[in-house]
């Protein structure tokens, strides 16, 4: 990233380091947002429950099944990534913010931050369910059948 920004701005530019930091952070967050459905996919689904269009690759097709949750996660987040990126930023900032609270308040602040993070997980889950419906993925109940009591 630093190399790319160096080429774009010139080697002696003073804003080089801050600019590369900012651009690097934007790229990091945008990639993390692509994988925000990963726990739901791995825990609730198997590859054969997904349409191949969600996980198959154009090249190296034999490798694609190994990475199906990553590919499917990236494709399911298409169209709502900037929103998910906002929640991802929130998830990165909150735990760090809790640690700078005054010493007696660090524990309650950390617990509150984790509650907000779990709420954010709930938002991710609702986006995940909506995208599953839009892409024709069956409701993710099968791995839970033994655990669910009607």
């Amino acid at each position: 990233m630093l190399l790319a920004v160096t080429f774009a701005l010139g080697k002696d530019n003073e804003i080089l380091i801050p600019a590369s930091e900012v651009v690097g952070m934007v790229i990091l967050i945008s990639i993390l947002a692509r994988f925000s459905f990963l726990p739901f996919l791995v825990i609730l689904l198997e590859r054969d429950k997904l349409p191949p269009a969600l996980w198959q690759w154009q090249r190296m097709k034999s490798l694609a099944p190994l990475f199906w949750p990553l590919t499917a996660g990236a494709r399911l987040t298409e169209g709502s990534r900037w929103r998910l990126a906002f929640y991802t930023v929130l998830g990165q900032i909150l735990p760090a913010a809790a640690t700078i609270a005054p010493t007696p308040l660090v524990l309650p602040a950390s617990i509150a931050a984790l509650m907000v993070l779990t709420t954010v997980q709930g938002v991710f889950f609702l986006h995940y369910r909506r995208r599953c419906e839009e892409t024709g993925v069956l409701p993710p109940t099968l791995p839970l059948e033994d655990a669910l009591v009607a």
């Binding site: 726990p39 739901f40 889950f125 109940t141 033994d146 655990a147």
Partner: protein, 114 residues
């Protein structure tokens, strides 16, 4: 457009997310406290190995808080009760693959960043 989203859609989505937490609030609070205490009892990063018990509690509680939402939120939406044995078996079976895929995802993100 962003400000409009921030003041209309964002609070609504957070309220919807909170509604999924509320029925199991004590469980989430207990898990949150466990994660917070475990992370606070870990020493600052150094070359030495971290103490075994806080490290183990930190890893297990971290994994639970990552994995349980998928299961509990599904049960919430479908309006069903859970029995813990099969849920814990399911989590134990999926923990390995989840950790592996998470490592790959983080590796991809950090490689792009670097």
């Amino acid at each position: 457009m962003f400000l409009k989203w921030l003041f209309t859609v964002f609070p609504r989505e957070m309220l919807q997310g909170w509604a999924l937490l509320r029925p199991d609030l004590f469980l989430w609070l207990a898990l949150g406290a466990l994660v917070a205490v475990a992370s606070m009892s870990m020493p600052p990063p150094s070359d030495d190995l971290p103490p075994a018990l806080p490290f183990l509690v930190s890893v297990v509680s971290g994994l639970l808080t990552t994995m349980l939402p998928a299961v509990l939120f599904t049960a919430q939406i479908e309006g069903r009760q859970l029995t813990w044995g099969p849920v814990l078996l399911l989590l134990a079976r999926k923990a390995g693959p989840l950790v592996l895929y998470a490592i790959i995802a983080i590796f991809i993100a950090w490689t792009a960043n670097a």
